[in-house]
Symmetry: none
Subunit: 162 residues, 2 copies
DNA sequence: GCTTTTGACTAACTTTGACTTTCAATACAA
DNA sequence: TTGTATTGAAAGTCAAAGTTAGTCAAAAGC
């Protein structure tokens, strides 16, 4: 693996795969030691690769007997999952979060690789022309509209521009 | 070789030829060092010699473990149609025209029904919040960005993992 | 005049480590 | 016993440093 955090991501995902449950518990420090990295690197990976949007939940406790629990978030299957994302995308969303959701939908098999690409394009480069300050809300509107489409809502259009 | 960028072009093409895959991954800085040029020269070559029109696609990532991936696109099989639409969608496009193009792509089997829906959503409802005067150009930017993405993906229906 | 070459500056990600906070267990005092 | 202070073992935070790649415009070659 060419970089640490990808390796850590894979390692954790493998643990999740082999675990009987849909969560695992680790000790941050010993995992870091096993993987030969500083403990805070684990936090970085959890933030960037196991975010809520990507379909994970991280709980932890400090002190003696502390732990980090990584839970596969139940986001529903099929329609439910898309609905969940739709309701969680409010009036504004950062690029990273949007891409997190798209990543999750793709991983869950709810959109194909090509569909995921179209979503990513629309909320990525597709809004790069919008002034920085308005970009997050532009993204949210486009993403929500596309999600509605995935849910099968008809799109109003009377042939003229509304 | 009379100039640097031709040499770099040949070098990269040779790498593509000998690679088993239809893409290669390089590290910009080390390639530059191997070839005895400044790193930004690589970008220049990629822009001028490995452009979309010439049948290539370039993706990259920065930071630790960063890379530049150069993909040779398969030609034919209707790709020309996507390219045509891409080049015809200039800096602004009406909703009706956009829908027309999307419909055509769908009829030609270049995008699936769902993909067409996503395109329609993005350039329809997705830009309804934009001030009317700017809507056509917003539409064009989003559509072009999405089409660009389509050019880099395998065809629908026979799709493999990206 | 066009293309090519260069390099200073910028942006995006990653890695590290010093410092902080929280918690459980234990020790101690009343 | 009961409440409280101490302590050590976790995990969290944050900013600096490191590692890539991108941009842009000036300079250099046709």
């Amino acid at each position: 693996m060419k970089n640490l955090c990808d390796a850590i991501e894979q390692y954790i995902k493998e643990m999740l795969r082999t675990a009987g449950e849909d969560f695992i518990e680790i000790r941050r420090n010993s995992l870091a030691e096993q993987l030969g990295c500083v403990p805070s690197q684990i936090n970085y990976v959890l933030e960037t690769r196991f975010s809520l949007e990507r379909g994970y939940l991280v709980e932890s406790r400090r002190g003696g007997g502390g732990y980090v629990r990584i839970v596969r978030r139940r986001v529903g299957t099929g329609r439910d999952a898309v609905e969940t994302v739709f309701s969680e995308v409010r009036d504004a969303i950062s690029r990273a979060k949007a891409e997190g959701y798209i990543h999750m939908l793709e991983e869950e098999g709810l959109v194909s690789a090509r569909e995921a690409m179209l979503l990513r394009r629309a909320v990525g480069d597709g809004v790069s022309w919008v002034a920085r300050v308005d970009r997050d809300s532009a993204r949210a509107r486009i993403l929500r509209s596309m999600l509605l489409g995935l849910l099968g809502e008809p799109q109003p259009y009377n042939g003229r521009e509304a």
